[in-house]
Amino acid sequence: MVAKAVEAPNVGFDFSNYARNQFFGERLQGIPKATSTGTTIVGVIFGGGDSGEEPGVCLGADTRATGGPIVADKNCEKIHYLTPQIRCCGAGTAADTEFVTNLISSNLELHALSQGRPARVVTAMTMLKQYLFRYQGHVGAHLVLGGVDVTGPQLFTVHAHGSTDKLPYVTMGSGSLAAMAVFESSFKENMKRDEAIALVARAIRSGIFNDLGSGSNVDVAVITKNGTENLRNYEMPNERGTKSRNYKFRRGTTAWTKESIRSLIVSEEIKSTSGAGKDQGGVEVVAVPTGAGAGGEEGMEIDS
């Protein structure tokens, strides 16, 4: 990468390390695995018709994030905010789902401001699919997009390569088969709100307990035209038991060779003297430490 002077960051991705990383990939055991949300994510449309309740969308997700075979995060949030009335569950590469939903959320807010109307779910879907298609599936974001707008409740799936589906009930992620089994047997149209939440929770639990890539807790989001309810950790069927023993070490167990204490409390002692600035016997001057961290020694100092 050509060294440049102080500059504003470029828009979009920076491919300058690509060649070097390919070389490392061959020389070492391959490039490190990114965190993935193995996941079970679902969405269902409820209400309207005979139910007597407001039509809406109910989204659900588990909370496990894996890095290879290791659980990297036991309680991550997979239901991302897009607009006040639209939410998006994300499966696939965790960083991709996080950043793509953040990007489209910002763009939706700008869009809504310029159009003078709340954003529609199809707008979010179109923005997502056009972005993902442009990157030909390399941005690994598999999404369940749901929300309510002027046209009513809408539920879509968006795949990493840019394809979309519009359906009354959807599941995605490694636990999608387990969750879909629950839906296919129990889904009915015009469910009541509580029935929909119970169904979604059952589907996610089915993914949590049967799929290795999903686990921990159930998150639910319920969206109607009156508002969005975020039920974070709606169910926690995998709480850790309390430890029966205490594993604190006796103080002094660990041997150390050097210790340095950086006191953050600044103390200053000033004795008034006559003759400003002159060095006089008996006057104690205590130096005020300025930042000795990354900013102080080589870079910027505040009010130095």
């Binding site: 102080v6 960051p9 991705f13 920076d14 491919f15 300058s16 390390n17 690509y18 060649a19 070097r20 990383n21 490392f24 070492l28 055991q29 490039i31 490190p32 990114a34 965190t35 994030a65 890095g67 290791i70 990297a72 995060d73 036991k74 991550c76 590469t93 965790a94 960083a95 991709d96 996080e98 950043f99 390399h138 941005v139 430890k243 594993y247 604190k248 070490f249 006796r250 103080r251 167990t253 660990t254 041997a255 150390w256 060779t257 050097k258 210790e259 340095s260 204490i261 950086r262 006191s263 953050l264 409390i265 930042g291 961290g293 990354a294 900013g295 080589e298 870079g299 910027m300 505040i302």
Partner: protein, 207 residues
């Protein structure tokens, strides 16, 4: 990632955080340096660790120093741990298709504000492309990450006082890196409390 070796662990205690790393720098099997510290300060109460490829440790450290200095100039205040985490995350995601081989760990104590007069101690970690995890107990990264997960899960408990947290984090790190060939050769621990930062170099196995 398996070229230079190295591991970092951070833990939350009662009104304090600890962040610790080993000191080894190697070229696969050959040990090259035993004074390669991987934990750096941002300001008085915010530290971060960069385990992984050593060249990227230097590159990222300098890049972040630049970004934090710009932040300090523009905002005229110190960056908070949460904001710094997002700064690192965005920096890593910029290189989504040619990433840095680093899994950063951030540990810090947020300064009290009007909206949040008693902020909780903060730790976070992320993968090589910037996916943030904000655990409530401990964060691990590096070649000994799997072992660190195991030991930390067993030893950590909530509300440890600074001196107890020091013992727990030290024993976690030392015992985990002893089971990893690419980490070790010494260790440094920083305990960050509201009124001081205690830095201790541990006596570790040098094999």
């Amino acid at each position: 990632m398996e070229l230079n070796g190295g591991s970092v662990v951070a833990m939350i205690g009662k009104d304090c955080v600890a962040i610790a790393s080993d000191l080894r720098l190697g070229n696969q099997a050959v040990g090259v340096a035993s004074n390669f510290d991987k934990v750096f300060p941002v300001n008085d109460k915010l530290y971060y660790g960069l385990p992984g490829l050593a060249t990227d440790v230097y590159t990222l450290k300098e890049h972040l120093r630049f970004r934090v200095n710009m932040y300090r100039m523009k905002e005229e205040r110190e960056i908070t741990p949460k904001t710094f985490t997002h700064l690192v995350s965005s920096t890593l995601y910029e290189k989504r298709f040619g990433p840095f081989f680093i899994e950063p760990v951030v540990a810090g104590l947020p300064t009290p504000t009007e909206l949040d007069p008693h902020p909780k101690p903060f730790i976070s970690t992320m993968d090589t492309i910037g996916c943030i995890t904000t655990p409530k107990d401990f964060a691990v990264a590096g070649t000994a990450a799997d072992k660190l997960y195991g030991v930390a899960e067993g030893l950590w408990e909530p509300d440890l006082e600074p001196e107890d947290l020091f013992e727990t984090v030290s024993q976690t790190l030392l015992n985990a890196v002893d089971r990893d060939a690419l980490s070790g050769w010494g260790a440094v621990v920083h305990i960050i409390t509201q009124d001081k930062v205690i830095t201790r170099t541990l006596r570790a196995r040098m094999d």
